[in-house]
Symmetry: C6
């Protein structure tokens, strides 16, 4: 979509799917790393997120801090550089853990310098070990993705049965990837390294 | 206007437009950097700001910390020098993200040593990547700018349709720039580097 | 069980038994240690845990910090590396100290590089000196373990009398180990060092 | 007055004018800097001050930290020495920003070693850039100053019109200086450097 | 008693007497010191203690930090090693200062490597100077000690008159030591240095 | 009195006079400094004190940190050694600033190694510059001092008129010193340096 193409043009932004008070909606998770010379440190979380979403941000970061080296991500960039995760105002997502893989993707995009694919939206809780755990609202989230022009959707493998509830005409226009580990998410959601724009350094 | 000319005479102050309980109003965002020898650190935010406005201050700072070097701003000045953002008492703005570009401009003015143009007022949410996102209350804000003698107004590009609601006699007396990236904001809102007063050092 | 086998495949995850609002249930405690180069520090606890469960996490960590060397665990790994304990969403356990030995096991698994045995579930308060103290809800917890396909259960020695309340058909299908010191827990719950996968380093 | 002469005998104390629940009153703002060897740091604020008054203390300090060197104040004294601002019990001022210039004067007095003139009382909000902004209650404050034997009063220039409300017999016995920048305040309120007692060192 | 013998087998645990909602009860105070290599610091207090009990823990620690060297305790062990004081779940003591000497004893036991005598229970507020101050509930506490098989009880000297309220058959089976300084407490409550197990080092 | 003689036997304890819910009472303020090797830092305040009393403790400490060297007190002892101010349980004083000079005396006693005179009780607010400011409840406090066997009482000079309210038979048995600066307090309240017991070092 034009909006997600614009928003995800630079590394550090990923497209999530959320349940709001009025159905499903698309949300953008943005991540930034402060210049190492600018004196920032720690994790800042903004966007008026609920307690559980704030915990998801911490889990995404801990996952990358403990497993990021195996993913060939430059985890030392997380040291002495302030990390900021932000969800810009817009649709207000209900609190819950389902933005976990979107937050992990935004951070991994920033670290790798690989922008997120603008045609991909996702939902899923992430565990500290990188497992993708099932979430609620899959039907509303897929309807929202479809409305917003998203063509590819990542859902937790354990949510596959929920696809039965999605109207066939919508379902048939979406490519849905059930995933069970966050490594699969990153492979599907990030532009290939070949097309890599330089990482924020 | 005399007031905004006085208030923005020195680098570090930018003129914003806000919705208050009684319509629109002009507000001034002030930024200071402590002398490196004076032992301050971190970000102090004052002015009895709401939660969302405080988050906007953090986003403005994170944007400059991560992208400031590309803008040729001396981001190392943000290290080991306490940063203070203040909105002096006066009109009480409703809480919201629309002071984001004003806060970013005040900080960039301070870092660059380029004072803000006193004839420019602005409104717009800023994202971590520097996108200018749409806000509410554009009509009241333009009426307030006009009343206060502001001649040039910056609004988010996605708010252009709202200009239809502004009375023609007001609209015709204002130069309105729709902007979509904070780089455009800084180019339009800061005095040229040639007219630069020395940066606070 | 398939789920606990999947969840405990890597070191750092242990299977606990909890009382929830609707009976007993299985919970997974996950632990991670940040890469020493990634700049994390301190203990992060997530999972919307109650006050008493958060204290249990602190006790588990203090136990390992004061006695871990005697257990030949590399306690220096706990320095300058952020520790994160998380209980993923799912069954919401009632607040209480009975996840103490599960939390201790998750951390010891991570430090030793010895994965937890997927067939073992456990419940028990842990004291600062490593004593296993009695807990409530033993009957519901054993029923839940049985339902979930757990074959071996560790309970506090002082809870042995509660086994009388467990239906004989369930009791006979479970191997129950009454334990009084957390050293016994670790011996029974962790894979032998021979089968050791490399520690997170 | 005898009281303000006693209270302002040493550098670090300035006389302010406040609105209380029962009219106007005089208040004393005290500042101290810890001995550099005594291990204190940061800013301590006491006196049961409201939120806005606490922000005024932070603004006063940030002003001096960013602009103090231009005023030839030894701002390095603010590093590694705990700063304490206190308003002793007595009249309870309504919360508001009008003690800003009094707080700035107390701190500048301490740094310069120039005691405050005991015959001077003052009111005014201070901005981060040192502008003196208008306040409320000017009439009650001048009546209180007169009652307390204060002979010279500093008010914000933009409050000059409020002088019309002060009874002529009181007005004629007071020397009133409208001020618009805190530099004017310091020149009028502090004893000349010639009469300087040694700075707290 | 078997339980207190088990709980106090290692240095760092002391037996206290408390008033609960249902009379008197025995409680165990546990202390641990983190391995110096494990990166812990500061004081952690757990056990869902009330505000006053938490203050008692701080007083016990400050007493040892300021006077411990006179007692030939290795106070440097308190530096750079996280201290944890815990009261395991069980009887819920009413909030109050009467666990002060028990907390001091647990910490002194840990530092000295001298285990607490399992036959000794105690109650008493401790002052910063080590004075033992009087407490309430002496009668219920002695009845609880007797029920639990404790044979020796330490009470504040100023509580001696309360012994008149204790039934003669209980009183005659207990050895009661009135104490006025915490040094007496430590002499009576800790195993002699000769029987010393090695200190946690 | 026997009690105050016992409590003030060592440097670091001063006797104050307070208003409680049931009249006046004597209170003891205790101060301790951690051994420099024990790793403590900062100011700890215990005794369930109200907000204003906690501020008094901070003011007492800041006074000594900024002016202590003039009093020939070893203020460097305040660095890298945790300071603890405690008011043991007993009479619950109403919150207020009147323990200020007692807190200052306890700290100065500790630093100087000069014990407080056990026959002296005191009340008075202290300002950051060391002025003794007037307080309430002088009559009840003197009655309480008399009841407790205190023979010498220090009150703020500006409270002298309140002595008229004290019954003549009590007044005639007390030596009352009106004081206006905390230096006078320390001279009257501390044992002479000649009788000095060694400072806590
Ligand atoms: Ca909120
Ligand atoms: Ca893209
Ligand atoms: Ca507020
Ligand atoms: Ca200008
Ligand atoms: Ca919560
Ligand atoms: Ca396994
Ligand atoms: Ca308050
Ligand atoms: Ca003077
Ligand atoms: Ca609680
Ligand atoms: Ca023993
Ligand atoms: Ca309280
Ligand atoms: Ca004495």
């Amino acid at each position: 979509t034009p909006e997600s193409a614009d928003r995800t043009a630079l590394p550090g932004v990923a497209t999530g799917l959320a349940v709001t008070g009025t159905g499903g909606d698309v949300l953008f998770v943005e991540a930034s790393l402060a210049d190492g010379e600018s004196g920032a440190s720690g994790l800042t979380i903004t966007g008026q997120l609920g307690e559980v979403m704030q915990e998801s941000a911490q889990i995404a970061l801990s996952y990358l801090r403990s497993r990021g080296a195996e993913l060939e991500l430059p985890v030392a960039d997380l040291k002495d550089r302030g990390i900021h995760l932000h969800v810009p105002a817009g649709a207000v997502p209900k609190d819950g853990p389902s933005a976990g893989i979107t937050m992990t993707t935004a951070l991994a995009s920033l670290l790798s310098g690989r922008a997120a694919r603008s045609e991909v939206g996702m939902t899923g809780e992430v565990s500290l070990t990188g497992r993708v755990l099932p979430v609620g609202g899959v039907k509303q989230k897929l309807l929202a993705a479809h409305r917003a022009g998203i063509s590819t959707v990542l859902i937790p493998a354990r949510n596959e049965p929920d696809l039965d509830d999605v109207p066939e005409d919508v379902r048939s226009q979406l490519t849905v990837h059930p995933v069970s580990d966050v490594r699969e998410v990153l492979e599907l959601a990030l532009e290939p390294a070949e097309a890599q724009v330089p990482a924020v350094a």
